[in-house]
């Protein structure tokens, strides 16, 4: 399975959840397959999906899923100790690890070579780190949601992309509808 197939497999689970989605193709694929006000699409700033997701989870009650990539986590490695030391049990970090920089032409990342993001996350002090095969992502994600514990999921999938259009929504519109959704969930 490639990333877009992983995303498709988890849409029934994430469609009504607060989702912070990584820059580039992951956001474009999610936007194409299941655009929701509860999705926050990153249009720039590689590496910060996990940081935005953690900040959001710490600031309010609803569950947050940050969808990240191996290349983005490598870009913002400092995020893992911060996550480990600021536990938010409403936060799930889903790292879709295809061992490549998918949005820029599938150049290999170190995560696809000798570096294990699962081992790094554990070494940083993260508890509940689960590595899974792409086919098992939906099951593992649902288990993580049911556990009510902060969980880091490293989904190992194949490299590859589908053709998707860029997102032409204005960033302020993305943020505004997302914040309205966050507020409604916390008011309710």
């Amino acid at each position: 399975m490639i990333r877009s197939e992983v995303l498709k497999s988890i849409i029934p689970i994430i469609t009504d959840k607060l989702v912070v989605c990584n820059i580039g193709l992951p956001s474009q694929e999610l936007h194409l397959m299941d655009d929701q006000p509860s999705n926050f699409y990153m249009l720039g700033t590689m590496g910060l999906s996990s940081s935005i997701g953690l900040g959001l989870a710490l600031a309010q009650k609803d569950k947050v899923i940050a969808i990240d990539g191996d290349g983005s986590v490598l870009t913002n490695f400092g995020t893992l100790p911060t996550i480990a030391n600021n536990v938010a049990d409403n936060f799930i970090l889903l790292i879709i690890d295809n061992g490549s920089y998918g949005s820029t032409g599938d150049q290999p990342t170190y995560a696809g070579l000798r570096t294990s993001l699962t081992a790094v996350a554990e070494a940083c002090g993260c508890e509940n780190v689960v590595e899974c095969k792409a086919e098992d992502t939906a099951t593992v994600l649902q288990q993580a949601l049911d556990s009510n514990q902060m969980t880091i999921i490293v989904c190992k999938c194949e490299s590859g992309n589908i053709t998707v259009p860029v997102i032409d929504m204005d960033p302020v519109v993305i943020k505004h509808r997302f914040m309205q959704e966050v507020q409604a969930r916390n008011d309710g």
Binding site: S51, A57, T79
Partner: protein
């Protein structure tokens, strides 16, 4: 009231509940004061762009946030300031130690100091420079302006300010 207490009181009075920091010697006192506050969640970050991501998330979660960092961080965070904070209209007060100004003992710090205001001007970031101790009296208005305008705002605090504080 000490300047550190005054800064943290102004943050709290303006509804700031989430603060990320990357330390600087000049900022040690205010970071200690943040830690002593029960109404602020203090989350140290490992790099300032990571901290801005945390603040953006908290802001969208309904909590006003702020970052405390050194001016060297302007060099680290330009892309994040432009493509996240400014692009999505996220208010972000940045309390910045202005290293490399008069009284600076470390020569290397002057290298970023000479670029700091030019970079902030290039980014069209409203910038305030606290030089005399009394300049802190403007902080409350600066914070109100920041959250009203939904912009990042830089508050540069130099060695003379901290010496007189």
């Amino acid at each position: 009231m000490s300047v550190n207490k005054k800064i943290v009181t102004d943050l709290i009075d303006n509804g700031v509940e989430f603060v990320t920091t990357v330390p600087c010697k000049q900022l040690a006192g205010v970071i200690d004061e943040i830690d002593r506050s029960d109404s602020i969640y203090h989350i140290p970050s490992n790099k300032e762009d990571e901290g801005m991501g945390l603040c953006a998330g908290a802001s969208m979660g309904g909590k006003r946030s702020a970052i405390i960092m050194q001016n060297t961080a302007i060099g680290v965070t330009i892309n994040t300031l432009v493509t996240l904070i400014q692009y999505y209209h996220i208010p972000l007060p940045m309390l910045i130690s202005y290293r490399g100004e008069l009284g600076e003992p470390v020569a290397c710090q002057t290298e970023m100091a000479v670029h700091t205001k030019a970079l902030l001007a290039q980014l069209s970031i409203p910038t305030y420079h606290f030089h005399a101790a009394a300049d802190v009296d403007e902080l409350d208005a600066i914070l109100k302006y920041c959250f009203m305008s939904k912009k990042p705002v830089a508050i540069l605090t130099d060695a003379s300010f901290w010496k007189g504080a």
